[in-house]
């Protein structure tokens, strides 16, 4: 069942939240042994919350737009009293004493959190293999990775353990696993969803967003979590967009741009799927426009300076002093070193070192400073293109899901998985990946829709059309 159907059923009294939760918990029990999407499952608490929702419905109350809908949270979202580990040894067992804004909004809307999902440690990775607690498998083929870093949230939805989940996207960490697992994944406009309670990786790029099996479910979930939050200074003043009411408005008259930079390097079958998707949009009345965005080719390099630079600072606080892992040593400084040496995995260490170097005296201008200028250039390039098109269509990933272990030894190869998704984060723009059939090895593939800031309504309209046409 979709989230839309569950919520409608629970609110109208034709479906019990308790049953919806039981269905989800049964699926988790049956499937998660093979997939390992979850790091924590809250069965008893979820049952109690569901029972309370059913009581409210029985007494004539409306628990909200997500009444009784089971949802999974990426393990970098703080949930009061629950462990938030970021799949890292350094935060293993750390219980957040407060709720993230998105969690507050979910619970106020009647959603039922059933557990926390696996991820690449601190959201750094593209395969969920960088988890300190073991990898997640792709439900479509368990020899393959689910993508990352939000691999657990994508796999949980793809295997129908939950209808919806939340992930975070810093350079593609929602869209890439959505594409690999064959689900919808949305990276909203920067500032549309509050980051309060999202454990930071790269603050200027991080954004929380939905996973779902249908475009409508992502629209429903995004409407609930979006909107201004005074606890996040980078939160936009604009209200949550009205997505569901425009979902079926179609693409008649929309100008959709195709640029080589968002297709080049993609596998032959993925490139073919994009052509078919473009045809589908044209058939529904959209106008295709050829554009060029050569600046995007510098996105990956700029990202791998900026994101690690911010991460090197954001992750400094895991020093063994206040919470999380502490490895004792002779003095405070030695304790800091011992704790961080043991607590962080290789990829996290690699990025902390990269970022520390990029910010160092004497190197700042050449690395961090230059990357910032590239970022500005990319924003200007998008601005130029969005003068003549409403949306862009391209690949989400260059390949379908790769095999577990295939890229672990080659970080550069792994980084290239995000080449099409990173520019949107640099610009702070929204983008989504919508499943569009299969490509190599019969594995699912998504196509990516990109738009300017706050263009979510148009993106969802186009995604809805592609969902209907995915069988082409």
């Amino acid at each position: 069942m979709t989230a839309v159907d569950i919520a409608a059923g629970v609110r109208s009294g034709t479906l019990r939240a308790a049953d919806a939760i039981e269905t989800s918990l049964r699926a988790i029990a049956a499937t998660d042994g093979d997939v390992h999407a979850f790091l924590a499952i809250y069965d008893d608490d979820a049952r109690a919350t569901a029972a309370a929702i059913d009581d409210r419905v029985a007494s004539g109350e409306d628990p909200g737009p997500l009444a009784g809908v089971p949802i999974a949270l990426k393990d970098n979202l703080c949930h009061n009293g629950r462990v938030t580990s970021c799949a890292s040894r350094i935060l293993e067992g750390w219980r957040s004493p407060y709720d993230a804004t998105v969690v507050e909004r979910l619970e106020a809307a009647g959603a039922v959190v059933v557990g926390k999902t696996n991820m690449d440690e601190f959201a750094m990775g593209s395969s969920t293999e960088n988890s300190a607690f073991g990898p997640t498998a792709n439900p479509r083929n368990t020899d393959r990775v689910p993508g990352g870093s939000s691999g657990g949230s994508a796999a949980a939805v793809a295997s129908s353990m939950v209808p919806i989940s939340l992930g975070s996207d810093t350079g593609g960490s929602i869209r890439q696993p959505a594409s690999f697992c064959g689900v919808v994944g949305v990276k909203p406009t920067y500032g549309l969803v509050s980051r309060y309670g999202l454990v930071a990786f790269a603050s200027s790029l991080d954004q929380i967003g939905p996973f779902s099996t249908t475009v409508a479910d992502s629209a429903l979930l995004l409407e609930v979590i979006a909107g201004h939050d005074k606890r996040d200074s980078t939160s936009l003043e604009s209200p949550a967009p009205s997505l569901l009411s425009h979902l079926h408005d179609g693409v008649e008259g929309l100008r959709v741009g195709l640029c080589p930079e968002l297709i080049e390097g993609a596998s032959p079958k993925i490139a073919e799927r994009i052509t078919i998707a473009a045809d589908a949009l044209t058939a529904n009345g959209a106008e295709l426009v050829e554009v060029a965005l050569p600046e995007l080719r510098y996105g990956l390099s700029a990202y791998y300076l900026l994101a690690p630079a911010e991460a090197s600072s954001n992750l400094a606080r895991y020093d063994g002093v206040r919470y999380g892992l502490r490895v004792d040593a002779d003095d405070v400084a030695a304790m800091n070193v011992a704790t961080r040496t043991q607590g962080f995995g290789d990829e996290v260490k690699r990025r902390i070192m990269l970022g520390t170097y990029a910010l160092s005296a004497g190197y700042y201008d050449a690395y961090y400073g230059k990357a910032q200028r590239v970022r500005t250039m990319i924003i200007q390039a998008f601005d130029r293109v969005y003068q003549s098109v409403d949306l862009l269509l391209g690949a989400t990933t260059p390949t379908v899901a790769f095999e577990l272990g295939a890229k672990v030894a080659d970080p550069m190869e792994m980084y290239l998985s995000d080449v099409y998704t990173i520019p949107t984060n640099l610009a702070g723009h929204p983008a989504l990946s919508v499943p569009f059939g299969t490509a190599e090895d019969d594995l699912p593939v998504g196509v990516q829709l990109l738009g300017p800031a706050l263009s979510e309504v148009q993106l969802f309209r186009a995604a809805q059309v592609l969902e209907q046409e995915a069988g082409r």
Binding site: W94, S96, A100, K230, A309
Partner: protein, 479 residues
């Protein structure tokens, strides 16, 4: 020859941190308050818990702008930056500060001696927690145990950086005192150095005369009082001169002032200095106070000490003795100038008002007392009119500050009635009759004996006689 010997001259710049008097911390809703059980005045934001985010306190911004305007700075669009370094009292292991775009820049402060000290910048940042190292070496490296209290973490600070324009330890002391008075007057800070709400670091170097290039500087930390500022800078400059004259070189380093030992010692060398890896704080948006906002803050800014000193000096006219100038500075520093101005407006001579406020009232208030301006004015007028002697006036003031009330009622209750002329005449005549030889000498022109007779009269009247009336009586009897 300079105080340092030969042509040596010291060059000093001060970095002053002041805590702002806001109700809450800089980036969260925790109270900006001291004391209390350790780690109780904290929340996810000021503890830097994973996922927490800072939100800027607008009241702190206003106080920072007040400081900037009081120091004649330009108030600029600014940004926050992260200063990265590991230390246990730093909850995030970075400090949110301002770096290349501070909120205030390029102002100045005029010292009472007329020297203009440039203010390079006055920027905002958050305070850290407090670490205590126990056992072992008692310092971070080699202590048995270190404990941290984060109640102070996130308290708003402004750091005021002067230009290298100070040329003596006394000038440095004057600068710190004047800055403190400005901070208090602007309402931005309580300026309490002993409690750490105002902290001074000094950059000190020496050179051979005013045209020589700057020498290598040392930064002196832990200056917790104006006296420390004076002593530490003198000591440090002399240390550098002694070193250079012996053929040595000064090493750029941070030094700690040991108040008890009266000397500085190395804290860390330049090689050990941290690379702070400043970069723009991505969790906060740029700050751009509107000109309307700046203008309204400027308009609401009370007069600053220099202006207040000048206005009292102008009341004093040309006969401003050196002692009066000192009294003016002291009265203004302590914010007691309203008492002087009000009394003078009511017809009390400036010298009398200054003397009573600087020498008597200041001490009583420093001990925790209060008095209303109007009551003080009444008292000074009574004294001026001869209704109270100086001794009586001081006694009434002490009572006024201690218990409040009305000066007339207090004077009456103490039996400080004005002596009528007849009673004074009788006492005078009796005193003259009892001391005939002294009287003869006084009549012959030995004016010093006036004091002798006044003392006798005061003793006989238990201080109730008006000194001026006694003098007049003595003069008229001498003929």
């Amino acid at each position: 020859m300079s105080a340092l010997g030969g042509t040596w001259e010291m060059v000093v710049g001060l970095e002053v941190h002041t805590e702002l008097k806001t109700a809450t911390k800089l980036f969260c809703g925790c109270a900006n308050a001291f004391g209390g059980e350790p780690n109780t005045n904290v929340c996810p934001v000021c503890l830097g818990l994973p996922g927490s985010l800072p939100v800027l306190n607008e009241a702190a911004v206003e106080l920072a702008i007040r400081i900037g305007l009081a120091l004649h700075c330009e108030v600029l669009p600014s940004t926050f930056a992260r200063k990265n370094y590991f230390y246990p009292d730093q909850p995030k292991d970075y400090q949110i500060s301002q770096y290349d775009q501070p909120i205030n820049a390029e102002g100045y402060l005029d010292l009472p001696d007329g020297t203009r000290v440039r203010i390079e910048r006055a920027h905002m940042e958050e305070d850290t927690g407090k670490t205590t190292h126990l056992g072992g070496s008692g310092r971070i490296h080699g202590a048995d145990e270190s404990i941290v209290d984060y109640n102070r973490a996130g308290v708003p600070l402004v750091e005021i950086v002067s230009g290298p324009d100070i040329r003596s330890a006394e000038q440095a002391r004057l600068y710190a005192a004047e800055l403190r008075a400005i901070l208090i007057a602007s309402g931005a800070s309580d300026g309490r150095m002993e409690e750490g709400s105002m902290r001074v670091d000094a950059n000190v170097s020496v050179r051979q005369g005013p045209d020589a290039p700057f020498g290598t500087r040392c930064e002196i930390k832990n200056l917790n009082s104006l006296r420390s500022v004076l002593r530490a800078i003198d000591h440090e400059a002399l240390r550098q001169v002694t070193l250079l004259e012996a053929g040595g070189t000064v090493t750029q380093e941070t030094r700690h002032w040991d108040e008890d030992a009266g000397r500085t010692h190395t804290l860390r060398s330049k090689e050990e200095a941290t690379d702070y890896r400043y970069f723009p704080e991505p969790d906060l948006v740029p700050l751009a106070p509107s000109s309307t906002q700046i203008d309204s803050i400027r308009a609401a800014l009370p007069p600053m000490p220099a202006e207040r000193r000048a206005s009292i000096r102008s009341l004093l006219g040309d006969d401003g003795a050196a002692s009066s100038l000192e009294q003016i500075t002291s009265v203004v520093d302590q914010g007691l100038d309203d008492f002087v101005v009000a009394a003078v407006d009511a017809g009390v001579p400036v010298s009398l008002a200054l003397a009573r406020v600087a020498n008597e009232l200041a001490g009583l208030i420093a001990d925790g007392g209060e008095v209303e301006v109007v009551a003080m004015t009444t008292l000074l007028k009574m004294e001026e009119a001869g209704e109270l002697s100086a001794t009586q006036s001081k006694a009434v003031l002490a009572e006024l500050v201690a218990a409040g009330g009305d000066p007339r009622s207090i004077a009456k209750a103490k039996g400080f009635e004005q002596m009528d002329e007849g009673a004074l005449d009788a006492v005078l005549d009796a005193v003259i009759a009892e001391n005939p030889s002294e009287w003869e000498r006084y009549v012959d022109g030995d004016d010093k004996l006036a004091g002798f007779f006044t003392g006798k009269v005061m003793a006989a009247t238990r201080g109730q006689a008006d000194g001026k009336a006694v003098n007049a009586g003595l003069r008229s009897r001498r003929g």
